[in-house]
């Protein structure tokens, strides 16, 4: 399982890349894609949507289940990764390259974890 050091993580298994200037990129972690199994569908918000921190912004569907995605920030959706809509398997193959959305005008934030703390959280969920 990979936990890249340059990313931050939410306790609901989203990763966050700080792009500076109150902007960020969001995806789901290696742990999340692994526990979901083969992802067959992803549902993303639209560019321009306003999100609240902790609010669901979409969902991913695997053969096993549908899981909600939670926004770590309050802010505005500035881009979505449209490639994932046609090729959701990329999330399984390259979870940290398969970003789901970019946000701008970020204000409020969920409490985020660094890679070590997140790895510890995943270990505790695993056992």
């Amino acid at each position: 399982m990979e936990y890249p050091k340059y990313l931050s993580y939410s306790s609901t298994h989203e990763w966050v890349e700080d792009l500076g200037d109150n902007k960020a990129r969001i995806g789901i972690s290696d742990f999340a894609q692994h526990s979901m199994g083969d992802i067959v569908f992803v549902n993303l918000p639209e560019v321009g949507d306003e999100l609240l921190s902790g609010e669901s912004f979409g969902d991913v569907e695997s053969v096993k289940a549908v899981s909600e995605l939670y926004s770590p920030f309050s802010g505005k959706v500035s881009a979505i990764n449209e490639q994932l809509l046609d090729s959701p398997e990329l999330i399984n193959e390259k979870p940290y390259e398969s970003w789901m959305l970019e946000m701008e005008d970020i204000s409020d934030s969920e409490e985020l974890l660094d890679a070590d703390a997140y790895e510890a959280l995943c270990d505790s969920e695993e056992h």
């Binding site: 083969d38 067959v40 569908f41 053969v63 289940a65 549908v66 398997e89 695993e126 056992h127």
Partner: protein
């Protein structure tokens, strides 16, 4: 196996289609198809063998144990079929004059009388075609109630995470916003979270009881009270009514509205695409919103009433799946006042007996007394031995047992949801338990073999991911 289209031979014909006995009409050329329909041409024996072949590849209640959680795959008594085939029920047309179908109308009226008594409701419609359609109709009644009372801002429906997956979908289909609330550790609705969730925008709550963990909501009267106090209405998902029918009544617990799955609880066949019947019952104050037409009895004559100002309108053509109601009525009258509660008690007894036997190896997600079903979690085995809920399901197929529901409810990891139903005898449960326990032990000792199961079925492990990512939804003619 080949499809009917692939078995087609152009010159073949079947003799069982009756000659046309009404005048034929020549249509204008400009509205006629240019190409003939691509229909398969087969002889009667070819068709008969095709469907027999399909039947051999399937598993029905008549083939063996079918503990598919939440689906109530119980045996459907043949007498129900016999009654539903009576010419007076079969050879009628929905547009026939009312005075010529009084018997059929009486069936609908009697079924309403018995099922409202069983549920503790005041009125009922049989229009909805199945469970989720019943939910949709029920939530439309609640929506209409709020609108007619000027409460247009009540647009949020609360759905606990132990509810049937159709509940949030229904609320969304009715234009409501879904507010999910998590369950407590032991699987009940969290009252504090419920109190925090209700407010001036609450339209109501949808409660599945017993819930998808097979647990009867302990605080059910508080739940209905909290929602009522906030001005919302309470909806009972009655899909699991076979666990409580004749023993306790949702109407007495404070519920305003309920749907029943006649095709589950009241023993009409399902699982092959229907038809079903999602009868919706309600308290008197919601009755004026029921779909039209409703049936009235005046001077000994039944009639349809369409002049209903506040009705939500129609939710299906004509009066719903009528013959399913006939079968459900036959079932209810066969069991009677004594049989209905005995059936529910047997459902609960069977589930607890099987749960106890299986707990020798399996981990029960919420230990304790269950209702008509229980949930196993294979979380530990998946992590430590790479034996998943899916592996157990596939292994059961080789032993001619239909797999339980897998990976549901979502709040239990690696879930196997087992509902033995009330119609199985102790011997069947004992035999099934032996199979469950032996495949478990073998799988833990030899996970590699478990991953190959089933080896005796016509289809091994279909590519579920491929089917979901690139679905082929219909036959396409290659020409």
């Amino acid at each position: 196996m080949k499809l009917l289209f692939e078995k087609s031979i152009d010159s073949r014909k079947s003799s069982f289609l009756a000659e046309c006995d009404v005048p034929t009409i020549d249509l204008d050329k400009d509205i006629l198809r240019e190409q003939s329909l691509n229909l398969p041409y087969l002889s009667e024996v070819d068709i008969s063998r095709h469907y027999s072949q399909l039947e051999r590849r399937a598993h029905g209640v008549n083939n063996g144990f079918y503990p598919l959680g939440s689906c109530t795959m119980k045996y459907n008594p043949t007498i129900n079929e016999k009654v539903a085939k009576l010419p007076g029920f079969v050879d009628v047309h929905p547009l026939q004059p009312e005075e010529t179908v009084q018997g059929c109308l009486k069936v609908l009226a009697l079924a309403k009388e018995y099922l409202t008594e069983i549920t503790g409701m005041d009125d009922m419609t049989f229009q909805p075609a199945a469970g989720a359609h019943g939910e949709y109709t029920g939530i439309l009644l609640i929506r209409q109630y709020h609108i007619k009372h000027g409460n247009v801002k009540r647009n949020k429906i609360i759905v606990p995470d132990s509810a049937h997956g159709t509940n949030p979908a229904t609320a969304a289909m009715c234009g409501m916003e879904v507010i999910g609330i998590p369950s407590t550790e032991d699987g009940f609705v969290d009252l504090d979270k419920l109190r925090a969730a209700v407010g001036e925008d609450t339209a109501g709550i949808m409660l599945t009881n017993p819930n998808t963990l097979g647990i009867f909501e302990r605080d059910i009267k508080q739940i209905t009270q909290i929602v009522h106090d906030a001005g919302g209405l309470v909806y009972y998902d009655g899909a699991n009514l076979n666990a409580i029918m004749g023993v306790t009544r949702p109407g007495d617990m404070g519920f305003d509205c309920i749907h029943l799955n006649l095709h589950k609880t009241f023993a009409t066949p399902h699982g092959g695409g229907g038809p079903g019947s999602g009868a919706v019952g309600c308290k008197q104050f919601l009755a004026e919103y029921l779909p039209k037409p409703v049936i009235e009895l005046a001077d000994g004559q039944y009639s349809f009433v369409n002049d209903l100002e506040n009705s939500i309108g129609k939710v299906k053509s004509f009066y719903g799946n009528f013959l399913v109601v006939v079968k459900a009525l036959a079932y209810t009258m066969t069991l009677g006042n004594e049989g209905i509660p005995l059936s529910a008690m047997n459902a609960v007894l069977n589930a607890n007996y099987l749960m106890k036997l299986l707990s020798e190896c399996y981990t029960i997600a919420k230990p304790g007394i269950c209702m008509h079903e229980f949930v196993i979690t294979m979380d530990k085995e998946a992590k430590e031995h790479h034996v998943t809920a899916n592996d157990i399901a596939k292994l059961l197929i080789d032993h001619e047992i239909h797999p339980p529901t897998v990976y549901f409810p979502l709040i239990v990891p690696e879930a196997l949801m087992v509902e033995p139903t009330e119609t199985e005898g102790k011997e069947t449960l004992d035999e099934a338990a032996e199979v469950f326990l032996s495949i478990y032990r073998n799988a833990i000792n030899d996970p590699e073999s478990a991953h190959k199961a089933p080896v005796l079925a016509p289809i091994g492990r279909p590519d579920g991911v491929g089917a979901a990512r690139n679905p082929i939804l219909r036959y396409k003619n290659e020409d």
